[in-house]
Structure formats: C-alpha cells, structure tokens
C-alpha cells in the first residue's frame, strides 16, 4: 500500500467535502492511502498570492512541502491550483539553487528548510500513470454507459508545459481515457481546453468577466449534449457549479448541468452512493445524471 500525505487546500474541504471524501474512498480501492496532513494550510492560492509576491507564494508553498518532508511522505492532491503552487514550488526549488537559497532564507525565520526530498503528485497523475486505466476499469461496478461527459482539464494541471510532465496542452488524452475507463463517453466540445475563468484572482476581482468565460464554456458543453461536467479542480468545480447559479442571476442563462470532480464520478462507477460522495452539497442538482445511471 502506498501512503501519501493528502494535501486538501481550501475549496475541497471547506466548500465541497464530497470531493475530499470521494478521493480518500476511491483511492483505497487501489491500495492508495491518503492520510491526514497535519498543519497544512492554503497552498497558497497561486493567482492571488503569486500575483502579490512570488517569493512569499513560494515560501508559503514550501512551508507545506517542508511539513511533509518532516514526515518523509510524498504529497498527493486533487486541486489544479494547489498543484501549481506545490508542484512548481517543489520543482523550481529543486532545480534552481539560487531560488532555493532565497526561499530558504525566508523559511529560516520559522526554522524551516526546504530539502527537496519529497514528490508532489496530482491524484489524476497517480491514477493514470501509477494505477493505470486498466485497474481503474476493473474497479468499476456500475459502468456509466451512455453518459456524455464534458471533461474540463483545467489550466494549471497542464500549463505551463515547460514546467509540467504531461507534454503538449493542446490535445491531451489521459483524462479522457480515465473517464472512458468508467464506461462513459468523453464528448468533444468547442473551446474544450479553455480556462474556467476563475483563476488569477479574477473571480474575486471582476466576477462578471470570470463568469462570462464560464458561461461560454457551459454553452459549448450544453451544445455538445453533455450530461455532466467532470473536473479535477475544486476551484474550477466551484466556478462551474456555483457559477451556474450566479450566471442565472446575472445573465439569465440557465444550464442546470451537473458538475462532478473525477473522484466523485469514479465513486459512482465504483458503486458508492451519492450521499457519501457529497453530491447533495452541490449547487446544481445531480439527480438527472443519477437517474441516467441507475
């Protein structure tokens, strides 16, 4: 059994606990234990914090990594924003001695030192590259046959490609393969790789413009006949789920398109019941989807 320190971030534990719960439960089926990560904080939010001070952003990210280094555990996470903060901090501080020195001089004030002794992995990367689509397929009890999934990769999982391991960000396939492994269909839709609009602090700075981007995506997904949106980022998740309510208020456009994090979809396919996956906590009702599956 492989153990990871489970880095939660903010939105999953504090807005969509179902994402947190489903990640832990579904991973156990693959002998992966996501253990409590004591004392972790916000990653911190790359858009907001990086924008104010990159060194503070790196230092706060490094603080989280150091906590895990002390326990000698690799980090697993389920949020693209956290992935940007922690993966890049880890990767850059390992690669660039000067930057490492600078950040460690900041950490010295709290008697921490970045060692570069652990890895930071996104759970979707672990599922695809370590577990593999075959094992994922084997774990399916309720095949999601006939479900049209509009996949949203999210930006910080793939980009910048020079600072990632997934290759070109134009036409990735691995997420699609993981969804298809559950029996569902990954549908192509216009501007599939487009941002959800929330990042960079824009959702809090200019909500209307952030929602305008989400609106375009939601429209394209609906046009392509999506039954559900599936993401791997609680912040994109919030933008696309709660965003639909806000879009309804602000622009009057209605989609009622259910939004699931991949681990929640995986949970359904593994036969877990919707409540233990926290689906009832979503703004947009998941019922139409459940009806289609059951």
């Amino acid at each position: 059994m492989k153990e990871y320190n489970f880095f939660l971030g903010c939105i999953a534990p504090n807005r969509y606990p179902g994402i947190e719960a489903s990640a832990v439960k579904t991973s156990r089926k693959f002998d992966i234990e996501l253990r409590d990560f004591k004392g972790a904080s916000c990653c911190p939010a790359p858009g907001a914090f990086g924008s104010m001070d990159v060194n503070a952003w790196l230092a706060l990210g490094a603080r989280n990594i150091c906590l895990s280094e002390k326990e000698g555990k690799d980090i697993a996470l389920i949020c693209n924003g956290c992935y940007k903060s922690l993966f890049e901090a880890n990767h850059r501080l390992k690669a660039d001695p000067a930057m490492r020195e600078k950040v460690n001089s900041i950490l010295a004030n709290i008697d921490y030192e970045f060692q570069g002794s652990v890895e930071v992995r996104h759970l979707i990367d672990i599922l695809y590259n370590d577990v593999g689509t075959e094992k994922v397929k084997e774990s399916v009890e309720v095949p999601l046959t006939g479900v049209n999934v509009a996949i949203h990769y999210g930006c910080h999982l793939l980009k910048p490609k020079f600072d990632r391991t997934f290759g070109s960000s134009e036409r990735p396939r691995f997420f699609d393969e993981l969804v298809e492994a559950l029996g569902a269909t990954s549908i192509d839709y216009k501007e599939k790789m487009m941002c959800c609009g929330a990042g960079g602090g824009v959702r809090s700075y200019k909500m209307d413009l952030a929602l305008d981007i989400a609106n375009e995506k939601l429209y394209n997904m609906t046009q392509a006949g999506a039954d559900v949106i599936v993401d791997v980022c609680p912040f994109c998740h919030l933008q696309l789920d709660r965003g639909q309510v806000e879009i309804k208020e602000k622009f009057g456009d209605v989609y009622d398109l259910p939004v699931l994090h991949y681990n929640q979809l995986l949970g359904l396919a593994q036969g877990m019941n919707p409540d233990e996956l926290g689906l009832d906590a979503h703004e947009i009702s998941v019922e139409p989807l459940l009806a289609k599956i059951m």
Partner: protein, 659 residues
Amino acid sequence: MDEEKRIGVFICHCGTNIAGVIDVKELAEYAKTLPNVAHAEDYTYVCSTPGQTMIKDRIKEHNLNGTVVAACSPRLHEPTFRKATEEGGVNQFLFSMANIREQDTWVHMEEPEKALQKAKDVVRMEVARASMLEPLTPKTVPVEKAALVIGAGIAGIQASLELADAGIKTYLVEKEPSIGGMMSRLDKTFPTLDCSQCILTPKMVDVERNPNIELMTYSEVDDISGYIGNFDVTIREKSRYVYEDKCNGCGKCQEVCPVSRPNEFDLGLQPRKAAYVPFPQAVPLKFTIDMDSCIKCDLCKGQEACGDLEAIDFDKPDKLTTVKVGTIIVATGFDMYDVERKEEWGYKVFDNVVTGIEFERLIGASGPTGGNVVRPSDGQKPKSVGFVLCAGSRDQDEEDGAKPYCSRVCCMYSLKHAHQLIEKIPGCVPYLFYMDIRSFGKAYEEFYYRIQNEGGKFIRGRVARITEDPVTKNLTITAEDTLLGTPLEMEVDLVVLANAVVPAESTQKLKTLLTLSNSPDGWLLEAHPKLNPMSTTTDGVFLAGMCQGPRDIPDVVAHAAAAAAAASIPIHKGSVTLEPIYAIVDQEHCGGCATCIGVCPYGATELNEVDGKLVASVNEAKCKGCGTCGSACPSGAIKMQHFTNEQIMSEIEAFAQGW
C-alpha cells in the same frame, strides 16, 4: 637544426583591433627579451603587402631563420605569412603564429592589462615553438580527373552540368528513382512565375544526355575513403527490379499493376502503383518496382505488359560500384518541418489544413487535381484561404522541433500562392498572416506590391490557433491583428501552413562519412560563412544548395555553380599540395608492438620486416596527420611532424615561465 636560432617577431596592430586594447610597443619590447629572438617590431597591418614585404626584408637584414607573427587566428592568415616567410628565403614551416586577436584582445576588451600579459605569454610560447620547428617539404599528389555530386535536385543538377561542361567526368548520385528533387514538385517559381517544370525539365534532360555525366539514380553512397584528389567512393545502386537498359518506359507494367499506394512524390495526395515512375517527366524514364508493396502477381511480366522485353526481374540484386574521384560536392537538400507537431494548427487533424508543398501539388498542372485547387474535405473550390507564415520558422520551441531561423522561402512562395489563387479562382481572397514579409531578393518587394494590388490581404499577426467546424469543415483562424491591437477569429475555407525547411535526415550519414560538421541549426557547416560558403573543412569536399542553409532557387543555383567552380580547380590543376603534416617512424626505436596499427583510423600505419625485425611504418599518402599514433606509441618512436613532442613540450615550458 644546429645553427643558432634567429627568430623575427612581428606584432600586428590590426588597426585598433589589437592596438586599441593592448600596448603593442610594449609587447614588441617584451618579445626582444625572449631567447632566440633576433628582431621584433610592430606594424599596423602585417597582412598588407607592405607588411609582408617587411617580413621578407627583415629576414634578409637580420639573417633570420624563423618567424613569428602575433596577429589574428592562424586559421585566417597562417597561409599568408607562411608564403611571406618562404619568399623571404626561409622554409615556410619555420613560421609560427600567435593568436592575439580572436583569442585575446577581442575577448578581454575590458581587461587591457591582463590581455597584454596574455599576449606576452602567447608570443613567448610561439617563439619557443618556432625555436623547435623543423623545415618540411610539402608533398604533391595527383588529382583524379573526376568528381562526385551527391543529390540531384536543382543544386546537384546545376553543379553536375557545370562540372561536365568544364570537361570533368562527373558521377551524379540520387537516392530517388528520378532526379529533379523538391523543385520538380513546384508549380510556379517566384517572382517571375516561370513554370517550374518548364525551366527544370530541360536541365534534367541535359543531365541524361551529357556524355561527361554518369547518372546513378535510386542509388546511395555507401562508403567514402581517401583524401582530396583521391577519394574512393562505393555507391549502392538499389535494385529497381527492372533492367534499365531493357526498359523503354512504355508504362504497360504500371497499367496492369493491381497494387495502389500513396505516391510519395505527391505527398500521398494521389495513388501510384507498385510498378511506377514518380512523375511523368521523370529522368530517367525507367520504371521501378517497389518491392515493399509488390504482391508478386507477375501481371507486369505478362505478354500484355512487359512481355518479350523481359525488363522485369524480381531477383535483380543491388549493385555496388566503386569509383575514384578527385573532389566531391554534397547537394543533399532539405526536408520540410513536421508541422503536425504544432498541434494548435491541427495539421493532419483537420482535412482542410495543408502545407505549402502540398498546395504546390494541388495547384500544379501535373498534380492530383490537374491544377484545380479544391478542399480535400469536399472537393469544393475555396473562396477564402488563410496562409500561416513562419509555420515552424523563427520559433524557439525545441519541444515542437521548431526552428529559430528564417526559412527564407515561405514569405515569397506564400505570396506566389496568393497570386495563383486570385488568378485561378475568381473572387477568392487570400489572407496572409505574417510577422514580417521578407521580400529581400531582386524583384521580390515589387512582387509583394503586386499581390497587394491584386487583392491579397495581409494581417500582421502570428496565428495562435486553428479550429474546425465539424459540420462544414471550415476553419477558424485565431490571431491578433497587431496593427489594430484586436484579436480576430476569421473563418476560411482552406488553410495553408508555410512550414519551415529543415536539414535533410539523409545528410547525417554523409556528414559522418565525410567528417563534416554542422552549425547549431543542423545545416552543414561551411569553411567560412562569408568568404567561403561553398567549401568545408574537409579538403576537396564542397557544399551546394540547401544542405548548407535555407536558400531560394536563384541562390541555390549560384551556390551550386560556385561549388562546381571550386571543385574543378584542383582537378584542372591536376595535382594538390598536401601539408607535410604526417607521422614518421624512427625504426631504430620502434619495438614493433603494433599499438599504432590499432589506433590509426585510416590504416596508414603498417608493420613490415626490416632486416630481421618487425617495425612500423607510415604510409604518408594515407596519413592525415591527426597524431593519434604519435601520442600512443609507447617507445616514442613515432614523430608527428610539425607537432613533435619537443615542439609541444617547449610550448608548455614557455607557458610556465609566465609567473
């Protein structure tokens, strides 16, 4: 050797290049204090005629028996000063050169004091070396009155015709079944709009007819050994499974052949048979059977096909030929950048995104559509066509295999394509997405005006992405009009990617065979980028056309003619003088251990029995003077002339006297 050494040292100012950084007077004064130095002085330009005369005069005045010039790099002016020394009556190999420009004043400009110290050290080292140098006599070898040209695109064709017309027997080797290369795929040529085939075909025919040219198509160079004047070349003529002498090009075998596969010549846009010629004007007009796809149905051998001609033989083997040539011209051309790797443009994902060279076949009269430009998706005539310039050129993204350089042809051929569309399809509007239009050649900028006048639309912005409407198969180009400062989304019927030219894969093997180098961009490296772009660092080997770097047709032809002229010089002289820089064996000390036999890459060292004992000897004709044997010989019996242990050791000792 025993006479007292009297060395003259000449310090060059090179204008301000050297004198502007270090105190040349002080350097000259310092030189005078060195052992064996009989005379030292500085002069503005030692390489000038008065400078060289100065060397000759001083040799006589001071009765010098060795010279050192401290100036630029020996790779630039060593020959000049050797000549001056020789003319002054001193053996040219008693000259040595101190590089105080390229490797001193130009790279230590901010530290004149340290640069001066370095200059003193270098001069001291060269004086020490000069004191140990020995007189040598250059050896002269005859030159084979024949040349080899590798690659029969327009570059190789031009070079071969020039050589042949100069009365030189020329072997022209082409790996494809026909000569003509990339130019034979083009429809028109910019800016004159000459029909490419019309101007190329006559030359192709000349090649076939010229008695001095021995054409070897469907052939590749297997091996090359020897040196300038005397290269031994092994050529593999791949079997066509057709006897060239019997085949009359009637094409009946092609008619009956049931196999169909994409024609490489048309980039797969139309099919060919297993028995085929790549295109109608092929030279030679001999059929080739592609055994990879042949199903051996024997129809082509039947009476209603080849029949009594009996030109076809499925068992015909490859043929190896060895030829001797004096000089070699490499004209292996280029490949097109694999633009599929730029996923944002959707090449090979979207039907109606084609490359520039594919467009040439689409609009060429001899092409799959007989010259009617139509959309691959539905055969409809496009009413609006987007051109993506710099598709893989001027792009630093190595991950995508893109190239940082300008490909020098894409702007102009895209302008040409725009013109052809306007001419052929009334109402069709070409939109050229560009960063800069580089119309640098004769009548090129005027051609740009012309296309603008004809209605071509120019949008200054690089294409960020192309998307396809799954239903209409129309394409949407996303780019910023940087002059308006507005992002655009423009729907067009067809997109042409003007993809970059890249070094040819097939050149790599030759590069090794001929010990050539390449520049960082991957193209073959010339001897001098400005003054000798057609020669290489391997004597007797020359470059023609794109293999050395991106060029358009007029430049390729000029380059090829230049290469041919350069390659014909040694042949017409009939002999070349080789540096006497070869190893010799002191058979007294040789223990016959044969270590040198193992290390010599040219098999120049051999063991012979000399009065009862086995001793090594060096074949000076084969030896190229690398000195590897000299450093390997355990008994120090091998002497690497002009780079002897004594000479190098004396430099090292002099080096140590600097502190």
